[in-house]
Symmetry: C2
Subunit: 247 residues, 2 copies
């Protein structure tokens, strides 16, 4: 069994702890967090602590705290010959400042504390300095997910910005559509099957093949009709994205 | 039984014809199209014609041809006391120029000719000039879909532009992410669970509630890291959408 300690009690730390509790390959030794941990863990008799000097011995320490705090906090993690990793998509492995072996264990998914999540389908992007550590991370990752990828820090950065496009920005486009529905007193529900189908479509087609609409057809008549209905900010976004599609 | 004739053999015409063949309330009398119809209909013994003067008698004529051709074509549809509708999201009911009753029967979904589709979950947006015609369209629509909405021409326009945001533009964001993955030699597959979850999330949360990411947190450090990885066009889109989210 691989002994694991989780540092943090945010969304990822909480869900990752729950997944590790079910892993056959791992033993969740302890959760460290500054504030009190989720009651769930106390009920399940998982050892928790709020004191740094009470952190126990383990094979793997997973720091799952806010991106900005990782580097500074890692300085306190000086467990020789142990492996310390973080879970951030935007922080490079080198930003870990501990005198230990280092690595990254990045789950690429939008994770909420209170929404049940199955790690089985969450891609885990792992990175380590040594082959042995990568082997260890791979074992941990495979015990909770079917989708494990070896991804270096540069690749992970590109995935993180890609995730902003397909998640944050896509959601903002949903928001604009929702605003339009409100303006014209239309039920946003009507658009949900299309939203669903748009996401499903690229399971089989590449985004390039799946592209449709007035911009790719260069259908100026429809584009102009659309622009008339939009406010200034929406027009800017419509025009920039349409031009980008056409190119 | 309501006797229906379909005009056209594009994606919507083809799939709508197939759905109507299964409807208990409708009888698909004939399909008219300029070019030869899909073999499927010939095999199923559906009457087809390429001659305008061979168009039969029916209760409802559904014009499902390209947006630009609807107005001109409708002039040829002079069946007194019959109902003629089109299936376009961006064409108003008034653009039908026939001396008949008029209406609209707009399926809000991305529909391909060759991909099997279940109309049951496709929102059908219907509009007509008279109560009786609306009743007729409602009966037809309900016989093939569980999602029928009364939507006037102004509302339909707003839905059509909203559909561009949630479908065409969202797909373009997928395309940008795919390009980034290619540039950094990362498997685009890694992003698919996130794409799926992003679409699923708004089934329960409003897009406003679902919004996460560096822009809404005004996390300039991460935003700047991201911008460094992007080309000029991607940077423009990233900046405009981030600013729009922050506002």
């Amino acid at each position: 069994m691989i002994n694991v300690i989780i540092i943090g009690n945010g969304n990822v730390a909480t869900q990752l702890s729950k997944a590790l509790m079910k892993s056959d390959a791992c033993n969740l030794v302890q959760i460290y967090s500054r504030s009190k941990p989720d009651n769930y863990f106390i009920e399940k008799n998982i050892e928790t602590t709020q004191k740094l000097n009470k952190i126990k011995n383990a094979d793997l320490y997973i720091i799952s705290i806010s991106d900005d705090a990782i580097s500074e906090f890692s300085k306190k993690m000086n467990f020789k010959n142990k492996l310390v990793v973080h879970t951030s998509g935007s922080v490079s492995m080198a930003e870990l400042k501990c005198n230990t072996n280092k690595g990254v264990f990045y789950p690429l998914q939008t994770i909420s504390k209170n929404k049940k999540v199955s790690f089985k389908n969450i891609p885990l992007c792992i990175e380590a300095e040594t082959k042995n550590d990568l082997k260890l991370l791979n074992k941990v990752a495979k015990s909770i997910s079917n989708k494990v990828y070896f991804i270096d820090s540069e690749q992970r950065k590109s995935l993180h910005v890609s995730a902003v496009f397909v998640n944050n920005f896509t959601n903002h486009l949903y928001k604009i559509a929702n605003d339009l529905c409100n303006d014209y007193k239309v039920d946003f529900e009507i658009l949900k099957p299309l939203i669903n189908e748009t996401a499903k479509k690229i399971k089989k087609l590449s985004p390039k093949e799946a592209q449709t609409g007035p911009a790719i057809r260069n259908d100026k008549k429809t584009i102009n009709k659309h622009l008339e209905l939009l406010n200034k900010n929406q027009q800017k976004i419509y025009t920039l994205l349409s031009n980008s599609i056409r190119e």
